[in-house]
Amino acid sequence: MVILNWLTAFGKYIMMLKRVFRRPDKMRMFLKRYYTEIYQLGIDSIGIVLVISLFIGAVICIQFKMNIQSSWMPAWVPGYASREIMLLEFSSSIMCLILSGKVGSNIASELGTMRVTQQIDALEIMGVNSANYLILPKITALITIIPILVTFSVAAGIVGAYSIVYIGHIGTIRDLTIGMQYSFHQWFFWMGVIKAMFFAFLITSIASYYGYNVKGGSVEVGKASTNAVVTSSILILVSDTFLTQLLS
């Protein structure tokens, strides 16, 4: 029964995507929405991304310096570990997990409210493909802005590590810099970006699916945004496992 429900939902999700990925009715209107969404979903998230990454970068550094550090470990390890953890996992997967909470619930409740107040019906009556008009700009906007968010997150993490070394007097800046530069693979950065772009698609499309298909009233809108966050978080974690193996 549960499996059947999942399959039905998946089928409906695919059908919705088929309506979403069409040529927009009017390019001008699409671009207008696209820029708004870039702002709402992307630019508006920069603050939270910077703050969280800054602290995580600092904390990783502290953990390695104070708790994991031991006599057999070279002094550059904390810098190296901070960089790799940010690049490989935090700035892509974990940041997207956090964004799925912020962006996902935002999208699901916006679309859900539009559904229950019949704004989506109003679009349909005008002869507008509402799925395409409302959802395509959201998906494309987050996918295009996410590489920038990833970059900011990595940078903020590194700044965080440096700040804590400087302010907290743990280790030396020089050791940290050696670690940061040790055995750098550019591909790791691109791997993070590719993963994040895939997660951006998951977050926006799943949240849109839940919001767009709300039936009922405000209680259902609330449920939809919870479901959107839970489902996209789980799918991000599951697909992260596969993607990481695939890209490594």
């Binding site: 704004q119 019906d121 005008m126």
Partner: protein
């Protein structure tokens, strides 16, 4: 003209529309009346294609809505305007942007032209100064009028209004009714209005369809409705003591 032939619709076991057949004429305000829950909204939503009826035909000037391809449906929908029970204005846009929206979406005119048309529609519903406001900042009656302006922006052939008077005081209701009536005449539209407001029935009821528990019980105009001896219809229109006394006084 819109013709409906033997429309049926059930939700699970509950029959909501039972073999309904009637005609709505162009250039007239056609009213669908009936008690709350009698199926007015379901009938209207079926007519515009938001609900798929189980069986029957819905003919727009002879073409069956239920047999149209997706593209034909979109073209037909661009000739429809609809006023929803809750106005359904886009709350992230100003009133003017709301009215301009269908034009932005489908018309190739210049920005200036589109804006002029939108402003004309706002003037028509006496909202000349409200263009810069957000829908939240308007009263219920103003929202209804803004929604009318948006519905007529594309000069539709068919106008659907679901309970345009719900939640409005009698005086404001009259203004909305009058507006709908005049716009219908000006543009020779086929207008269909869902209502349970007896003032509207007596004011603009040129062709009235009475639904009773999902069945078509009676069809006629506002003069015939007063003299009809259909018991269920009389129970509906003379539900209040006031109207009962009026009728007795008439007799």
């Amino acid at each position: 003209m819109i013709e409906i032939k033997s429309i049926n619709k059930s939700f699970e076991d509950k029959v909501v529309l039972n073999n309904i057949g009637c005609t709505f004429e162009s250039g007239k305000t056609n009213l669908i009346i009936g008690r709350s829950g009698s199926g007015k909204t379901v009938l209207m939503n079926s007519m515009v294609g938001l609900i798929q009826p189980d069986s029957g035909e819905i003919l727009y000037d002879g073409r069956n809505l239920l047999n149209l391809s997706k593209t034909e449906m979109i073209i037909l929908r661009r000739q429809m305007g609809m006023l929803f029970q809750g106005s359904a204005l886009f709350d992230s846009m100003t009133v003017l942007e709301n009215v301009m929206f269908p034009l932005d979406m489908f018309s190739d005119e210049s920005y200036k032209e589109r804006k002029r048309r939108a402003q004309f529609c706002l003037d028509r519903v006496n909202l000349s100064d409200a263009g810069d406001k957000l829908p939240d900042e308007l009263s219920g009656g103003m929202q209804k009028r803004a929604a009318i302006a948006r519905a007529i922006a594309m000069q539709p052939k068919y106008l659907f209004c679901d309970e345009p008077n719900s939640g409005l005081d009698p005086k404001t209701s009259l203004v909305i009714d009058k507006l709908i009536y005049e716009i219908t005449k000006e543009n020779n539209m086929t207008t269909i209005v869902n209502t349970h407001d007896m003032n509207s029935v007596m004011g603009i009821g040129e062709n009235i369809v009475f639904l009773y528990h999902g069945s078509l019980e009676w069809q006629g105009n506002k003069d015939e409705i007063m003299t009809s001896d259909n018991q269920r219809l009389n129970d509906f229109i003379f539900a209040s003591d006031f109207s009962k006394r009026l009728r007795e006084a008439n007799e």
